[in-house]
């Protein structure tokens, strides 16, 4: 079977058009072409005559240069099918678009927009429209709806597939500003179409209407429009060896490669920083010192709970210069069991701790204070009881001189009951640095990853 090579006899090979006005040339691809507008001088000629008789002079093509690398006569391959670019219409739309305001109220707002509509003819003699505007590219395919909606139906139309009522996204009028290339009917600047469109997912479904001079409809067409990325379009034209498309694709691929590399590099760094935070952040599992001190109410020679009392000393702790130590003191205090209500607003049991560092000679070099407590508090405003507690205090200290140090542990008598204080000293690192670095590089990696995808789809 040689179905793919089949061509109807009526379609001949490209016919050379030479403009009678400026001498510019163009290969006509469509055997049924009746009109041709010279892309160099804007002269409209009759393609049915052998000498391409001049019909009109349109506006100069220099006022409407193409937006990107695509130009008349270019070739491209999409979905394995070769296409030729045979015409371009520049449209100017004056339309109403459904917009939501800050409060979520929807209303139609007036808008204007200009876009290029490229007409592509395939080797199989099928057409495809490519819309190009400042936002990028859209494929437009003719659509045959099961439930066609006719124009002027208000703000809702029939869903082409389900027939359900859907909101019109945009409606208005488009006017031809410029045309170049070949066509089977006469396209003139000033030609108008009316349109109404609704959106479903990523597809914009449009109904287009043309009218005669008396406002009577002459033609209704239906289209489905879907975004296509610049890279996909450049890939299609590159496949047909279009040098400008190849250059654009090369640039885009280099940008994508850069984004991808940075994403991986930063994600890798973030992962490494987080691994370091987890591995090293916990501190050395074996403490340098680990000692318990108990404070019995009966031991206390002081009646006042506000007086500091020396509980004990961890002597001769060997510390090396340039290390960070984490000093932790923990105690569980007796929980108070009382009825907290409007009459008795707060019950709390607390003990203040005081840690004093001395050097080898017994000179005081630094101190830390903290508070260990548990409390119940009655909130008279909403009648709730709030619990709060702090069962340990931690301090980070960096050592600048290697030597032996002593830690003296002081505390105030708990308000109620006895307490045992558990003091541990560990070598550690400040894991917050790894966390901050890891999270920041992670965020940048996510942003780069998102830019990679948005660049690819733009």
């Amino acid at each position: 079977m040689a179905a793919t090579n089949w061509k109807p006899a009526s379609f001949s090979e490209p016919r050379a058009f030479t403009c009678q006005q400026c001498g510019g040339g163009l290969n006509l691809r469509n055997a049924r072409t009746r009109y041709v507008v010279c892309p160099y001088c804007g002269t409209q000629a009759d393609a049915t005559t052998d000498d391409f008789k001049i019909l009109h002079q349109f506006s100069s093509p220099s006022s409407y240069p193409p937006r990107s690398f695509i130009k008349l006569g270019d070739e491209a391959i999409f979905d394995g099918v070769r296409y030729s670019v045979i015409a371009r219409t520049v449209w100017y739309s004056d339309y109403m678009e459904l917009e939501s305001d800050e409060d979520g109220n929807k209303d139609y707002e007036s808008n204007v927009w200009q876009y290029d509509e490229w007409l592509l003819l395939s080797d199989h003699r099928t057409f495809r429209f490519l819309i190009e505007d400042q936002e990028g590219f859209h494929w437009v395919q003719e659509y045959y709806p099961r439930y066609p909606s006719l124009m002027r139906s208000g703000r809702s139309v029939h869903d082409f597939v389900t027939g359900q009522s859907v909101e019109v996204q945009e409606y208005g009028k488009s006017v031809v500003k410029f045309f170049e290339g070949e066509s089977t009917y006469e396209v003139t600047p000033g030609d108008e179409i009316f349109f109404e469109a609704y959106r479903k997912g990523s597809v914009l479904y449009t109904t287009e209407l043309r009218q005669d001079g008396h406002g009577q409809p002459t033609e209704i067409e239906f289209f489905a429009e879907e975004k296509v990325s610049k890279i996909d379009i450049a890939t299609g034209f590159s496949a047909a060896n279009d040098p400008e498309a190849l250059e654009m694709l090369g640039k885009a691929n280099r940008t994508l490669e850069r984004l991808s590399f940075w994403t991986k590099a930063l994600a890798g760094t973030a992962a490494l920083a987080i691994i370091l935070a987890l591995v090293r952040g916990g501190g050395n599992p074996t403490p340098i010192a680990d000692q318990r001190f108990s404070f019995q109410r009966s031991d206390s020679i002081m009646a006042a709970t506000e007086e500091l009392r020396l509980l004990g000393k961890i002597a001769n702790i060997p510390l090396e210069a340039n290390t960070v130590v984490d000093i932790n003191i923990a105690a569980s205090l007796q929980e108070l069991d009382g009825n907290v209500n409007g009459m008795n607003r707060e019950l709390s049991n607390g003990s203040s701790v005081f840690l004093e560092w001395q050097n080898e000679k017994g000179e005081v070099i630094s101190a830390n204070t903290g508070e260990i407590y548990n409390s119940k508090e009655y909130d008279s405003e909403d009648g709730t009881v709030e619990f709060s507690s702090n069962s340990s205090e931690s301090f980070e200290r960096k050592v600048s001189t290697t030597g032996k140090y002593h830690l003296l542990v002081y505390a105030t008598l708990p308000d109620v009951g006895d307490a045992t204080y558990h003091v541990t000293i560990r070598k550690t690192v400040l894991s917050r640095f790894y966390w901050i670095f890891g999270v920041l590089t992670g965020i940048v990696a996510i942003i780069l990853w998102a830019s990679y995808y948005s660049y690819k789809k733009r």
Binding site: R254, E257, R258, F261, W262, A265, L266, G268, T269, L272, A273, L276, R280, T305, L308, L319, N322, V324, V325, R345, E346, L347, S348, G350, S352, F354, E356, W357, N359, E363, V364, I365, S366, A367, T369, G370, E371, Y373, S375, S388, N390, F395, E396, R397, K398, V399, S400, T401, Y405, Y410, D415, V429, L430, S431, R432, F433, Y434, F437, T441
Partner: protein, 67 residues
């Protein structure tokens, strides 16, 4: 992106990580074990520095209120 550029970027990232590691292990934001203020106060006031320091520095005071 050339291999040179990639190598530069990777070395910047590794240097940053090494810098972070240096700050984390040297305790860039931790208090020094030798606190000149406490040393001075302890020298000047002897043991009584403790109560002055303690009452002016202790935290969480309100939590043990209501005694």
């Amino acid at each position: 992106m050339s291999w040179t550029a990639k190598a530069i970027v990777l070395s910047i990232l590794v240097s940053l990580l090494v810098g972070i590691d240096y700050m984390a292990t040297r305790g860039a934001t931790a208090d020094a074990l030798e606190d000149p203020y406490v040393k001075e106060e302890a020298k000047k006031h002897g043991h009584s520095y403790r109560s002055v320091y303690f009452y002016s520095h202790r935290g969480g005071g309100s939590a043990v209120g209501g005694k």
